[in-house]
Symmetry: C2
Subunit: 300 residues, 2 copies
Amino acid sequence: MRETTHHPAADAVHPITATVLATLSGCTDTRLKEIMTALVKHVHAFAEEVQLTGDEWRRGIEFLTQTGKKCDGIRQEFILLSDTLGLSIMLDAIHRRDDVTETAATENSLLGPFYREGAHEEAFGANIARTEGEPALFRGRLVDEAGQPVPNALIEVWETANNGMYEGQDPDQPESNLRGKFRTGPDGEYAFRSIKPTPYPIPTDGPVGQMLLALGRHPMRPAHVHFLIQAPGYDTLTTALFSADDPYVESDAVFGVKPSLVVDYVRNGSAADAKAWDLPNPFFDVQRDFVLARSQGAAR
Amino acid sequence: MRETTHHPAADAVHPITATVLATLSGCTDTRLKEIMTALVKHVHAFAEEVQLTGDEWRRGIEFLTQTGKKCDGIRQEFILLSDTLGLSIMLDAIHRRDDVTETAATENSLLGPFYREGAHEEAFGANIARTEGEPALFRGRLVDEAGQPVPNALIEVWETANNGMYEGQDPDQPESNLRGKFRTGPDGEYAFRSIKPTPYPIPTDGPVGQMLLALGRHPMRPAHVHFLIQAPGYDTLTTALFSADDPYVESDAVFGVKPSLVVDYVRNGSAADAKAWDLPNPFFDVQRDFVLARSQGAAR
């Protein structure tokens, strides 16, 4: 666990900063006051550090304005900005560090903007691919931190089709393509058939896409399958499995990859397995267990 | 002149911050790279310092989104945010410190969002008040830093009517009410008649107004008259004169007041002056000179 960095010199603020901070003295919401005090200090220190000019800030204001205007019921460009600047994963790290250090629980990753509620519950081993791709079997067990099975939990999965789009983004995909819910069995076991995922770009037709271009950064996310795992008495786990052989696995545009979440797509050439799972020979076989943490305050 | 604060400890960044900064290595725009490096460091350090939660940041994202959506051709809510957080005046201070330290030139203030181009040029001493108010005479000289007159310069002025609105905001005000351009005479002299300004709130019907309310801050600007002064060979001066007796002169919502820009509205009881200027007796008499700085690189 890393200590919070403290900057003693940061208390020596510019006189204008001190004037602005003094206006917060009447704020009765102590948490809001704490947040705004730090925000004002950092915004002012940033401006002074880079000697930001009026013209540069006008471009910044135009960027923020266009980012707001790009948002609608489906698209959230400020989340994209937060993701691409690493702030979203930073909050995840800060929060996670607080309540589960030294845990065996599976690490989490970003939920992302493409999660859709209302997925169908499918039978053990069902195939959720309704479009083409390289067939893959995902299987393993859901256990607690002591290694005991967690039966009857819900494992929800979603991934993009080969065209790099989620079903919810793409009117040409069949309903419920590449997403579904699976219930773990008595020994915590789960299995589903799908396809090996492909890398895809985050939306680049807005201000954040222009920013990445100006910064010389690519917009790609490495191929991954999302998992949202819920069981009574356990912390909900939002995570994803990333493909080890993906060209972008070391450079995710939104910094969601953690080494423990990178998996191999192993080529399984067993004729018996192919027949048992009704898959071509060979197929990709991803064997992966997940570990849930008990909720704080839950009975043990 | 104040030294730029440097925080050696700020180089010890969080591992996630270091990962994000590494993605900027391909940015060929060195200034953009410098700005974004500092921005990412400060945004991450802010989040860590206050241990920002996901829920709090979702509220922040919603605030930024609504701020963007509030912007249109007339209203610029992000400028209002920048003004109320003291960033606009901070940039002014940073920039001004760079090129004119130890100067005799009149200090500047914020242009504000209500400047309109195309004001009429009026005769020396003309009255620009077409709505009611307490009559005031503004007069003085425009000089350079050596005290020599600057003739034939353009002094543009604008202020709110007694209802707290600028002509451009208020369809009920006559065209060109309380704004106009004046040309300085051979000895740098200027004069115009108008009214004593009144304090007014910045727009409070958007996210920034809600923010001020939550922070326990009032939205008022102290009464002021804007001045935009232009002459060939001199730096353009954007400034304002604030009323010394205003209840908000020490707590301007956008931090635009500088002590040197606060003026007294002196009651002038001279019957001769009242007659000469065609004003009631008494009237407010504001006598104030302005000092322009020569443009860098201009002939001396």
